[in-house]
Symmetry: D2
């Protein structure tokens, strides 16, 4: 792949050098599981970042992070409201059904894979409040959304109010949370708080943003955190050398690397988006672009060594990452402009 | 911990340099999940090692490896027969109940945490063959056992015959499989085959033996392997940068590093065991020692900077690892001899 | 309710006198659970009726019957394709998620709540054959459908062929199976075979048709039947005085009472349907009618003591039953004609 | 079986005439499921009986009643402490594993299948309070116990205090609750309250005591009751003609029939027990007797038309029921005395 200019996905990007360094530094023996000194730092570090008390638990995948968090909010006989194109519905191999012991996903609509109180109400208001119909227990939103859109703080506040009124938990799948935080702007704490709003739990993604194998489940409720500690073990996700996962996360938090990496990816995406004009299917608010491109046009781009996925018959998806080279982004922007 | 002579556990040992090297070499981008070139090698490599066709899938923990394998053999309404002190019963936080959707563990007795056909028969023969009683569907054994014992090829063959007669699956928890293989002797393939015998599936542990975060589920049945591929994803264990896990396993297989590391740990354990004499509670057949030691004696050892766990009121457990220093083993042997 | 002319539902109708008689005759003690003489007859009786070997197990509800049967066809990581308005999706309180250990329902479209191979293909063909997406394992159809429609033998044959090609199990929710059999015509065995076609399993409903608390799970595969026996117990559905359930089913089979009762209900529905003309939303092919009626018209009917449910804002649902009085059906037909 | 003198079990006894009558009276149509007038009475009736607010929900089996109640107290990652010979462990086909989504049963010892705070503490005190070990969430006791023993009010109070201290739920399997209540004495409300003590939930059995197919789940906590309503449906246990189940329970409550029937069965058991002398393995405190009898002695009794089960090699179990004929009990007492 040496000459390729890769825009396939951020999920296979290399590990950031600072993360490698932190992992190597974790090599000396310490207590197993999450009893080590590095894992012990996480709660405090995330509490600082989010400005409200929380627990931060490492886990190896976003799927596990999402499902462990949702499991604290949803009884097996209940349901999670999510977007019909949400990752938990479409791409997690039925993991929510497993982790939630058979609870249902209820699929709401919304532009750009974003949910709104109205869209959710349209889905759940017709549900009869009787035992024959599964009742919603929580809402799951994705920040950035599956179409690279970012919820604004106002939109999050409205969802938080709605969730509270309906007595529903509010979960955020933040596989690309950093990109939304970077998009919303401000220093680390401000950006993280704007991007997370009033959610009850957050799967905070680091892997796509320079990590290797560590995401964080952030839980703003102590009892839910206690439950997740048991269920992480029960799901086979309590790694015995957990210090290597904690090290990755701490390296990403140190010096706000998570935010810097995301800003880099967003900037590359923004440059390309500017060149797309009307071709752009969704506003560029993170690091994913969905672009109308004919088959011929896509072939032309691939002939210039750009690597990316088709998105249906008439479009393509481009994803930038922490390691996207400036020259590759510029080249892609030009190539699209020249089509 | 700089001066400590650590015999607490092998589960928090550092990562072997060759594993670090292989991970760094995996840094260049490749396909995500298990679509990368390294993951693609695993089936063939394990097929060579075991001398019969199999699939080898990476997964982050032994708990997940065990439970994914057992899930192919046990219906939710059935049971797994295991030793009453088996790790899956005692130390996996109820993971089998989760992964097997409520199937039961049935607890058999046996010296040294080893199962025998007779011991299993004593447990399952009284079960009425009716729907009121849960029926066994599989047997799970641990190699090396929870007391550091190794099943011989003859013992494994007898269990295989028994399992076949009773139409039960036969699973092996091989968190310390390498240590048993090293104990049984021979070159890599011979040792692996002797130590695994006729099992249907094996959780082949690498983490305690120099890896960081990759165990292998070995499945000798194609349909079971296909099922585990789906269920690994469903359990949130399909990491997107899976190439870093494959790299760890390949590094352990290259040059038979797994066997060399285990031989080193076993040799250290053997040296200490020789010094224990009658204090030894179980024959030393891997890298774990259980030693009668009074509280006073344990304090005396700890005063000499030896780190280890108590084992009840009158004994201690010592575990050696791939990185145990020869001088530490020798020192411990002497210290025990001098008590 | 003495003066009411009830068309609310068949699910609360009285128990047929012959069923009462059979239950009373079962009063003398016999073996508990399904070890009694009456339960022992069921397999043979259903094998005769369907003309192919099968097992027939009593169970107290259609929900349990459906879910126990589906559990034999669908792995926890798979899915059942059903109509988006299927009872198992809309009205069973999430029971499939419970019984199938988190497997998914995939919702296909189809006129009259009927599925077709094309409709199913449109749903499942876009599913990528990879582990990130849940794969279908079975199809569930409802005979008569949720809109009172009956699959013809040709339609069933086409679904059977499609299911076989795709290696999917084929299940039938037959809560009103008798009404479809009666609609398709012929003597009991012929009617049952036409209405069931090539399904692998059938939840054969008796409760709506004159029974009290016994449906039959019909399984045309021996291994699946064996599994359901265990899982019926595991689900708390193995009643200790099972002979009273077997008695109900046998009473319904004796003299083809099930078919006679269904013919009666169908005839009443047909008479009303004739009076509905263009108001009829779906062809009347069983004992449920969905009729365009304005709010004013519905009030007019209710003023004449007809009891029925609204069906959205502009329609009503009328259900006839084994005990619908001829004069009530005639009166309703006239009343609708006179609107 | 006409000449047999049946002491096999109470679980296949005929239905009491008053129950038949009540069921027939329920024949006229009413709302389906639990929306009927009879089901609506249950909460109030049981609240009167137990002298504290509760919900009473019908369900078809004791297995379902136990598991639905336990599901409100035990998270999927937790455990239920029960006696090693408890029905939920030994004879319910793994139903707790299904209903509790993989939670564990922890087996305590205790004479006569009775649990004590000390016995439970001996089991759970050694459990490390860490995520590797499954933690207990509830205790389940059986009244009358599997050996026909009855907990006294003092013993129940002690268990209640212990459960509260340890923050464990306290559940009672009352398949033969009526027999214990009758044994403890007093009028209906006093007897019921003495026999149930401070439990959080109770599976109140009616089927063995003259009913056909209705047990009651009694829940003394409103939130738990609300949850069970959903889960009863989800488990396929919400019968559409629920009024026939409510009718059975109401008939048993009317005129304290449940207590009269139990007194009758207990009296028969007491008469036989008196004749057993030292042969009696457990004090007779309900309607089950376990009696040392050699094979020859058992044959002698069977030759006299007494029907009963062997209990191991050297004993037999005799169960009396609401319909045990006085002359049969007297005859058995004499026959045993004459051995």
């Amino acid at each position: 792949m040496s000459d390729a200019k890769p825009f396939l996905s951020d999920n296979a990007a290399p590990v950031h050098p600072a993360v490698w360094g932190a992992m190597r530094n974790a090599d000396s023996a310490d207590n197993p599981y999450d009893g080590d000194a590095l894992s012990a730092e996480l709660d405090a570090r995330f509490t600082d970042l989010f400005g409200r008390e929380c627990a931060g638990l490492w886990v190896a995948t976003g799927t596990a992070a999402n499902c462990l968090a949702l499991g604290t909010m949803v009884q097996p006989h209940g349901a999670v409201v999510c977007h019909e194109e949400a990752h938990i519905e479409v791409d997690e191999g039925g993991a929510p059904g497993f982790y939630l012991h058979g609870a249902k996903l209820m699929l709401a609509s919304g532009e750009g894979a974003l949910l709104t109180p109205d869209g959710i109400a349209a889905l759940i208001d017709p549900i009869r409040d009787d035992v024959h119909q599964v009742q919603p227990h929580a809402i799951s939103i994705t920040q950035a959304s599956e179409y690279g859109r970012t919820y604004t703080p106002d939109e999050l506040a409205a969802l938080g109010t709605f969730a509270k009124e309906r007595r529903l938990g509010l979960h955020m799948d933040g596989a690309r949370f950093a990109n939304s935080a970077a998009f919303l702007g401000g220093e680390a704490a401000a950006a993280a708080q704007k991007a997370s709003g009033p959610v009850d739990s957050l799967a905070f993604g680091f892997i796509k943003n320079g990590g290797m194998s560590a995401e964080a489940v952030i839980l703003f409720d102590k009892e839910q955190a206690a439950q997740v500690r048991y269920r992480r073990k029960r799901a086979g996700h309590l790694q015995c050398k957990g210090r290597y996962l904690a090290a990755q996360i701490l390296a990403m938090l140190d010096g706000d690397l998570w935010l810097h990496n995301a800003r880099h990816a967003n900037a590359a995406a923004a440059e390309i988006a500017d060149a797309c004009g009307d071709r752009l299917m969704h506003p560029a608010q993170a690091n994913e672009l969905f672009v109308h491109l004919s088959e011929v046009e896509r072939e032309a781009l691939r002939a210039q060594d750009f690597a990316f996925y088709d998105w249906g018959a008439d479009a393509a998806r481009f994803v930038t990452a922490w390691d996207t080279r400036d020259e590759d982004a510029t080249a892609l922007a030009k190539a699209i402009a020249n089509l």
